[in-house]
């Protein structure tokens, strides 16, 4: 009898995990409005993937690798793609300090205008490390929601920040899986 109860409990847990995959905290309704400005914190290559995803989701978006406060005109949401790329920073003629300064100015202006921040981290384990983690620590706490590739959060670093700051987080297996939560996040 005890064995049957344990088996049933185990099955129930599996069922819950299948029905509610990965989502630690789900938003009940769309959190964001269009149009959205897509930029990166760290000049990573994932920013273009997010642009393709936004296009596929039918979202009205603008991409700017070096967005500044003046780009916020008419913008209702900032999508910030987190992760430092040495190659990307070099190509943009930026170092980490200058990149942080750029994002700080952008986010400060956004806060003044009540433009919310959606953060994404799609680079996985390869887009973690001291530089990326510094950017994640600096800007993720300001987000209203985060969508992250599971492989970049194996150590719970990203979900830990989200938990501490009460930020909705969706973890996905693959880049293509971002499409559904991204669509659902926007009106």
């Amino acid at each position: 009898m005890k064995k049957i109860t344990l088996a049933a409990l185990f099955l129930l847990i599996i069922l819950i995990l299948v029905i509610f995959p990965q989502e630690r905290k789900e938003s009940a309704s769309p959190l964001f409005e269009q149009p959205l400005l897509i930029t990166s914190a760290g000049q990573n290559a994932e920013i273009l993937m997010v642009s393709v995803l936004a296009k596929r989701a039918g979202l009205d978006s603008i991409l700017s690798k070096i967005a500044s406060p003046k780009d916020l005109e008419n913008i209702k949401t900032i999508v910030l793609v987190l992760g430092a790329s040495s190659k990307g920073l070099g190509a943009a003629g930026l170092d980490l300090a200058k990149e942080k300064e750029r994002i700080n100015l952008l986010v400060e202006e956004a806060q003044k205008k009540n433009v919310p921040l959606l953060c994404l981290h799609l680079g996985g384990e390869a887009r973690r490390g001291p530089l990326s983690d510094e950017l994640i620590s600096a800007f993720l706490p300001l987000a209203k929601m985060a969508i992250v590739a599971k492989s970049g959060n194996k150590d719970g670093f990203i979900s830990g920040i989200c938990e501490k700051h009460d930020i909705a987080i969706v973890e996905v297996e693959k880049t293509a899986d971002v499409l559904t939560p991204l669509k659902e996040a926007f009106k």
Partner: protein, 522 residues
């Protein structure tokens, strides 16, 4: 034995050896298979060099299938940031297919059908993407999405491949079948040529059908150097690799490196100072020998090495690193994935080939499945440079496939990708094996460093992060600025090698974990 940058390619080459093919058959089989299994680094859209040792003739020869600039190339293609825009202008006329088939016909024993079968199978059946493939695919996403488009097989439904995803390339398989059935003229003069020209020009390039039709590989004698009891054969220009490996070994021969210790501060300091002199010569003299005179013999002379040694200080940097000055001579004719193969007869191939940057230009001719190179980046943006671009010119390369002999018998087959780091990395591996008695695998895996000079001034030393802190501090105290890179950074290349001991009784393969290298033997 076959060593290559992907296990499937190495196994394909090994199968060819087992079927009775010789080293040239196996090398060409492996090259085709790499196009299918490591398409981001080499392929029929690129070019390269092959050093061949023919055991029965005891002769070494070089087949040069470096890409050439299109005839209509404008005088200036680099923008202020040193980039070539639009991307089509970065594509040079591919030479790989012509070079492989030339070598196969002249020195191989098998047919084009035989050497392409494994590549076709790999392209059709696919394979699980590695961490290396996935990471490079993500890094080069922008180029691929812009030039190859969302529907390309080089992206997984428009996004980069994740490790473990299945990568298939049926269009490459069809292209290879077409080449087999119609011959390589299909690539250089037929339907594929038309698709190449269309794809390049749609992206702002200037290639025409005649550029492709006129392409021919070149065969010439190797460059020879001596280091202690060893004789080295590698490439003459238009690759700078052979010249600079010999230069570096000639310089290092004057120093007690064994006493200093491997990767000790004095060793790294002296090696880096030598590199800075070598780079001064590279930018002053090296280019396409069909268009300029290059003082190769002077550059690789022991006398010139001693001149450089006499200028290097033991514990500090120089203010400037001048290039060598040589007397004028009359009638001067001076003239990136690696594969190593040795067959049972003792024939050897050391082949380095490339499409330049990872995923090349990102341009894929319509429904062909292969990537075109962006080798035009290897030209200098300085119009007064010996490596300035021009119609039909071959850009300067750093590739350095080499074969070393110890007392008349083959001892070491070696090569690597890695851009201008190639000759530095290969020299470090040679020293590791010969002077520090390391096994080939240890020598390849050992931490690497690199530096260069630009306009006579020292640049910082890049070091893998495995170097001890006190070594780094000592180098800083000598005046070097330091840049720390990853522990096993593909910036320093991904070497492949074969070490032959006791007259072919023991053959050891070495493949670099900085890439997906693999050795296969029987």
């Amino acid at each position: 034995m076959v060593v290559a940058a992907h296990p499937l390619a190495a196994e394909a080459g090994l199968e060819m050896l087992k079927k009775g093919g010789n080293a040239i058959d196996a090398a060409v089989t492996t090259a085709f298979a790499l196009n299918a299994s490591e398409p981001f680094a080499s392929g029929i859209g690129g070019g390269g060099f092959m050093v061949i040792y023919l055991a029965s003739e005891n002769r070494v020869t070089v087949v040069d299938f470096r890409e050439k600039a299109p005839s209509g190339v404008p005088q200036e293609i680099f923008n202020e940031e040193g980039r070539i825009k639009p991307d089509g202008l970065a594509v040079a006329v591919p030479g790989a297919l012509a070079g492989w088939v030339y070598s196969l016909k002249k020195y191989g024993t098998k047919s084009l059908v035989d050497v392409t079968q494994e590549a076709i199978k790999i392209a059709e059946n696919g394979f699980a993407v590695s961490q290396t493939f996935s990471r490079i695919n993500k890094d080069e996403y922008e180029k691929l999405i812009m030039n190859a488009g969302e529907g390309t097989c080089y992206l997984n439904e428009g996004f980069p491949y994740e490790p473990g995803d299945l990568f298939r390339n049926p269009e490459l398989a069809s292209t290879l079948k077409l080449i087999v059935s119609k011959g390589i003229d299909e690539f250089y003069k037929g339907e594929i040529a038309q698709k190449v020209v269309k794809a390049v020009n749609e992206k702002g390039g200037v290639m025409n059908l005649e550029d492709l039709a006129l392409y021919e590989p070149v065969e010439h004698p190797p460059l020879k150097g001596i280091y202690k009891d060893y004789t080295l054969f590698s490439l003459p220009p238009p690759s700078s690799g052979g010249v600079h490996i010999i230069q570096l070994l000639n310089i290092i021969e004057n120093w007690p490196v064994k006493k200093w210790g491997r990767n000790s501060p004095p060793y790294i300091h002296h090696f880096c100072e030598a590199l800075r002199f070598v780079f001064a010569d590279r930018s002053r003299y090296l280019g396409d020998p069909d268009f300029i005179s290059i003082p190769v013999e002077e550059l690789i002379s022991k006398k010139y090495a001693k001149q450089i040694v006499s200028q290097i200080k033991p514990d500090s940097l120089l203010d400037s690193y001048p290039f060598g000055r040589f007397d004028e001579r009359e009638n001067d004719n001076g003239n990136t994935s690696h594969i190593c193969v040795i067959d049972k007869e003792g024939n050897i191939v050391s082949l380095t080939h490339s499409i330049n940057h990872f995923f090349g230009s990102g341009i894929v001719p319509e429904k062909t499945g292969f990537l075109l190179n962006n080798i035009m980046y290897d030209f200098s943006d300085d119009l007064s440079s010996p490596n300035a671009l021009g119609p039909y010119k071959r850009p300067l390369s750093s590739m350095s496939p080499l074969i070393m002999f110890k007392k008349e018998r083959p001892y070491l087959i070696l090569g690597s990708p890695g851009g201008t780091r190639i000759f530095s990395s290969l020299t470090q591996i040679i020293i590791n094996v010969i002077d520090f008695d390391m096994s080939l695998d240890e020598a390849i895996e050992a931490p690497r460093f690199f530096t260069y000079s630009s306009q006579g001034k020292a640049r910082s030393i890049s070091l893998e992060s495995r170097f001890p802190e006190n070594t780094i501090e000592t180098l800083k105290n000598m005046g070097h600025s330091i840049r720390i890179r990853e522990a096993y950074d593909k910036y320093f290349g991904g070497a492949q090698g074969i070490l032959i001991l006791k007259d072919k009784e023991v053959i050891l393969g070495g493949a670099d974990s900085r890439r997906d290298g693999h050795g296969a033997g029987y």
